[in-house]
């Protein structure tokens, strides 16, 4: 149970406070409701590049990091296809420094040309390090446009290509800031050794004077229903063949989301899970295999990825994956197995209460979903899933015409 208080400033900033006196620390987590899905198709990777620029100095504070470190704080941020989330952890006695820093960069950035130039380079190196300079690094650069044809999930947060990042200019940066970085588009969560009255006072003092922005109405194209199986085969300089199969699944707020998530647990969470037991241990066909869902706000992908052993032909490897998926479609799961994955959900939620940063991020995310209180009822949503729900969801997901398959063939095997 994560308790919290909630209030909204006149400019539209939503503020949540979680009091936890057991820690000497405080966390300030600021979620902006903007991600890669809000980018123009010709300027992909921009939300993430922008996140880097948020550390390049703000209107009154030339350097974000130094004053943060000087009060013993640690800060970072991440960008997903849906959100951009900034967080700072610091000794609670220095809480106000976080308000000073975060409010100034919501008010305005320094928009330094030097910072833009350097961060373009840094992000290009990040692109190379994560996506280009290692085997299978480009899998998601291929899989997304294979599975999504219309929805902006068709590109990765890093961007479609290096050129989009190299071409970003200051006018674009300013327009992006004006459109997305304002109080009404953000959720502030303060957690740890803090009091609600204290947070109210600080929020009013530092964020209160920031002018309200215009909340932009997101109007993203829905991905049309996929009607035929898709396939891409890449011959690459990779050591082993590899298979990815992606299926369109429910969105985060759809009823079917919880069943889909439990299916991924049944298939691959823990060493008793189906795919690992059957295909790695018993039949000895794969060296590794995993199933997961992307956890996105809009319609998700459910993904199976695995590396077959050298003696297993790709077609045979695909076939055995499909057999396991068919089993979920044809046979109702036994109560024992369903309880097993539910027990794991329950314990994971209790362990998640140990970290204030994790609690703060969860509150912000669930507030974005509609109501932070729903975080405290997540377990119940999972517990309510029945064997019939699982089977029905499996029948929805695991259809050939709903699948996009990406195959890497190792050049030495070709």
């Amino acid at each position: 149970m994560v308790t919290f208080n909630r209030f909204t400033l006149a400019n539209g900033l939503r503020v949540l406070v979680h009091e936890d006196a057991a820690t000497p620390m405080a966390v300030v987590n600021l979620l902006y409701n903007v991600g890669a899905r809000d980018e123009h198709p010709d300027q992909t990777g921009f939300a993430h590049l922008f996140e880097h620029l948020m550390f390049g100095g703000s209107i009154h504070i030339p350097n974000y990091d130094a004053p943060s470190q000087a009060v013993g704080a640690q800060n970072n941020a991440f960008t997903s296809n849906d959100i951009t989330n900034y967080y700072i952890t610091l000794p609670a006695a220095n809480l106000e420094t976080a308000f000073w820093l975060e409010s100034d960069r919501m008010l305005g950035l320094a928009f330094s040309e030097k910072s833009l130039e350097v961060q373009r380079n840094v992000v290009c190196e990040e692109f190379k390090q994560r996506y280009l300079n290692q085997p299978y690094g480009d899998a998601w650069l291929r899989l997304r446009p294979l599975a999504y044809k219309v929805h902006p999930y068709r590109w990765a947060t890093i961007g479609k290509e290096l050129a989009h990042i190299e071409q970003a200019n200051m006018a674009d940066v300013k327009a992006f800031f004006a459109k997305h970085y304002h109080p009404g588009n953000a959720i502030l969560v303060v957690a740890g050794n803090v009091g609600t009255d204290q947070v109210k006072e600080l929020a009013t003092k530092w964020f209160g004077p920031i002018p309200a922005g215009r909340v932009y109405a997101r109007n993203l194209p829905a991905e049309p229903k996929q009607e035929e199986a898709r396939r891409e085969v890449v011959k690459a300089d990779v050591p082993l063949n590899s298979i990815y199969i992606a299926f369109h699944g429910p969105a985060r707020l759809d009823e079917g989301y919880y069943a889909m998530d439990l299916i991924s647990d049944m298939l691959s969470r823990g060493s008793s899970s189906r795919l690992y037991r059957r295909l790695v241990k018993e039949e000895e066909l794969f060296s590794e295999i995993n199933a997961y869902q992307t956890g996105s706000l809009d319609a998700n992908l459910f993904v199976i990825e695995g590396k077959p052993l050298p003696h297993v032909a790709i077609e045979a490897a695909e076939q055995v994956i499909w057999s396991e998926l068919d089993r979920l479609r044809m046979e109702q799961v036994e109560p024992y197995e369903l309880n097993k994955v539910k027990n794991r959900i329950e314990s994971t939620m209790v362990f998640a209460e140990l970290a204030i940063l994790e609690k703060a991020m969860n509150l912000a995310y669930f507030e974005l979903l509609g109501d932070a209180e729903k975080f405290n009822h997540e377990v119940e949503r999972y517990l309510a899933v029945s064997a019939a729900d699982i089977q029905q969801q499996a029948q929805q997901l695991f259809r050939k015409e709903n699948s996009s398959t990406l195959i890497y063939i190792a050049k030495s095997h070709a």
């Binding site: 840094v122 082993l240 823990g270 060493s271 008793s272 027990n343």
Partner: protein, 428 residues
Amino acid sequence: MLDRTLPPAYHPVTDFKLLKPLHIPFPNGVQTFVFNAGDQDLVRIEWIFGNVFAQEDQSLLNSCASELLLEGTTKYSSKQIAELVDFHGAFLVPEYGYDQSALTLFSLNKHLDQLLPLVKNILTDAIFPERELATYIRNNKQKLQVSLKKNSFVARRLFNKTLFGPTRYGYIPDVPDYDRIAREALLALFKQQYTPANCTLIVSGKVTDGVIDALRQLFGDSWQLADKAIPVDPAPKFAPTEGLLVVDERKDALQSAIRLGSQSIQRSHPDFPGLQVLNTLLGGYFGSRLMTNIREEKGYTYSIGSGLASLRHSAFFTISSEVGVAVTKATLAEIEKEIQRLREEPVEESELALVKNYLMGSMLGSLENVFSHADKFKTVYFSGLGLEYYDYYSDTINSITAEEIARLANTYLNYQNMIKVIVGKYES
């Protein structure tokens, strides 16, 4: 009117409170340390065994024994163990490190009655079935093939090998080495290493008297071996190294992985905390000189950092990064420049003050929950030190001067003598 150019008042962190463990030595030699705190009904229990090396080139055997612990006993199959752990929503994780092998259980208290006897069975009765070993070998050979295509992985291997030579810390397995792992050797190692006298038990979370009683019964009273001696493990001998340059050219590389460093001092050395401050200045945090110069000024890399690691028989200092291939040499030149600057120019008071505040804040922040208190204890305990080390650590940080930083840089950081490993492109 709010003046946003002025930072709010700073409140220094001058000390922090560490939880002291309750030490319960079991009569069979198990040393148990209990950290009881927190509101959630859960625990983390760690069974930690000192690694025993029959030969210095056997680290692959040790890691294999650790990773195969859960793959079967005379009582339970691999599948049954996996089902029991997963059904109770628990996590049972073998971890292999340079000096210790640990088995860690994360569980809600309500399931311990089921899980503790299982762990007892595993630690006393693992049999490393032939078929599970074959699966392990097959899959790990595949994983290693993938890792060997990652420049940063290869750079770390070459660095360790060059730095520590033919010892447990420098030994790096190649794909065919996996085929030489024999079940008999695993069983022999298991018998020698997984003994009460070689076991430290760290229990943290909501540790009730009932939990302690159950642990004492299972891992104290009923776990008796004829041989009560701590296993003999002679210390490895390390040859001094010189400033070697090791280059592994990869023709299609977009980035070069760089790793350089040298052997260093252990935590028990009086200069260790001061060297940690120096390391932080150079490459130990986001605002460090390496990050500021090489990422934030020049944009050569996504990340660069340095670190200091204290091992049981040695220690090392290392700098690592992945940079665009065109700037490999330029990056090395900047690293050298930054090291020289620390040796020759006194650090500004403002920068030193910032690093001190940062380190004290990080220390406080690293004590978030009861598990972190146990981790702090483990760090000193396995270095042969007590919790009072942290008083010395904070005193050193609070009082260190620019002159002392320069002395440490001149004593411990010497670019010429560092081993330099480049995987990617050096001559571009």
